[in-house]
């Protein structure tokens, strides 16, 4: 049960992906997928008259952007194989708009252990920073995985 966690990966970038230009259809499809009704995300004409001056992506859109690698390839050997999604935190930056070219950089942000009713758990936080073509941060997504 006892193992020493290797924190040497913390800070290491394991994926860097530039996505195809974001389209209006992509944003509308994402919003429709969960029944969004706010015209800022669903109605280009209404959004153009609204505070954002045009259609923008819903705040959680950045989570749908997956890089080539979800986690570093060597991580399972280091930590264990039985992992599951332990939640996400999203920090929203500038709005994502049709025409944006987004880049996602993913790093191992943190590795820590904790003990609970069921024993010792190792948590790894993968941080994906999404920036647009102007270098502005559109979102920072912390994806937590639990391994035991």
């Amino acid at each position: 049960m006892s193992r020493t966690i290797d924190r040497s990966m913390v800070g290491e970038e394991f994926d860097h992906t530039e996505f195809p230009r974001i389209t209006e259809a992509q944003i509308l499809a994402y919003a429709a997928s969960y029944g969004e009704t706010d015209p800022r995300y669903t109605d280009p004409a209404a959004a153009a008259r609204g505070p954002d001056g045009g259609l923008i992506a819903p705040p959680t859109f950045a989570v749908s952007l997956r890089g080539r690698h979800f986690m570093p390839r060597e991580l399972p050997r280091n930590i264990g194989r039985n992992g599951f999604d332990a939640g996400k935190d999203i920090e929203i930056g500038v709005p994502i708009r049709p025409g944006d070219v987004l880049t996602a950089s993913s790093t191992v942000h943190d590795i820590y252990e904790k003990t609970g009713r069921s024993g010792t758990m190792t948590f790894i936080v993968f941080r994906t920073t999404v920036t647009n073509q102007r270098g502005e941060t559109a979102a920072v997504v912390d994806q937590k995985m639990m391994f035991r």
Binding site: E113, K114, T115, R117, T120
Partner: protein, 220 residues
């Protein structure tokens, strides 16, 4: 004087409760929860620079700080954390020696008190079934707001057998759970030093507000 001795703000990775939201909640629920102060006991960490005096003044609620560390006898609340204690122990280590924590924290001016002792794996009761009792424990968290059915009840025997002082804490990780279990002190506690002295002195008891909170929500 009533203090919630065990609470986690969003500085703990598994809590989503901003400290100020706790204070607003307690201010608003004053008739149900007569809590004079809270002790933040973040998981496996200590922020020496944190300063909550502005919030204390704004809300009129005492804010003290401790830490919850993880040991080979389960989780332990450390009150009176100081530079000597943080130099002595790596709070992020989940395999600290409980005996060292209890003995050394006491020697260095604090109090180390096992929390949620009735909880499986991370509570003192289970460890006492197969390991010798710890020397120097003065108090345990007899009433924990996050305990499941039967876990708090398990602690009574432990307290009777070992003569431990009994205190209470909400173990809140969510705003609406702050203050549901707490500790009533006979003496005034206005600082961490006074808290340490009071816990060593024994003139306190756990207080349980869960029923009245439940009743106020219409669920009694």
């Amino acid at each position: 004087m009533i203090l919630d001795l065990h609470a986690h703000s969003d500085a703990s990775e598994d809590s989503r409760a901003p400290l100020e939201s706790y204070l607003k909640w307690l201010q608003r629920k004053r008739d149900l929860l007569p809590i004079d102060g809270i002790v933040l006991t973040e998981h496996r960490q200590w922020d020496a620079a944190a300063d909550y005096r502005d919030l204390e003044d704004r809300y009129g609620i005492l804010i003290l700080r401790g830490a919850e560390v993880e040991t080979d006898y389960g989780h332990i609340l450390v009150y009176g954390v100081n530079d000597d204690i943080t130099r002595r122990f790596d709070f992020t280590n989940v395999r600290l020696s409980a005996q060292e924590v209890v003995s050394e924290v006491t020697r260095l001016g604090g109090v180390a008190a096992p929390c949620h002792p009735g909880r499986p794996t991370i509570g003192l009761c289970e460890h006492y079934e197969r390991k010798p009792p710890l020397d120097g424990v003065v108090a345990v968290e007899a009433l924990n707001g996050g305990s499941r059915r039967g876990e708090n009840e398990r602690v009574q025997g432990l307290i009777e057998r070992h003569g431990y002082g009994a205190f209470g804490g909400s173990d809140a990780h969510l705003v609406s759970l702050i203050g549901i279990c707490a500790t009533e002190f006979d003496d005034d506690v206005r600082s961490v030093e006074q808290l340490v002295a009071a816990l060593q002195g024994g003139r306190y008891r756990p207080v349980d507000f869960r029923e009245q909170v439940r009743a106020a929500r219409g669920g009694a």
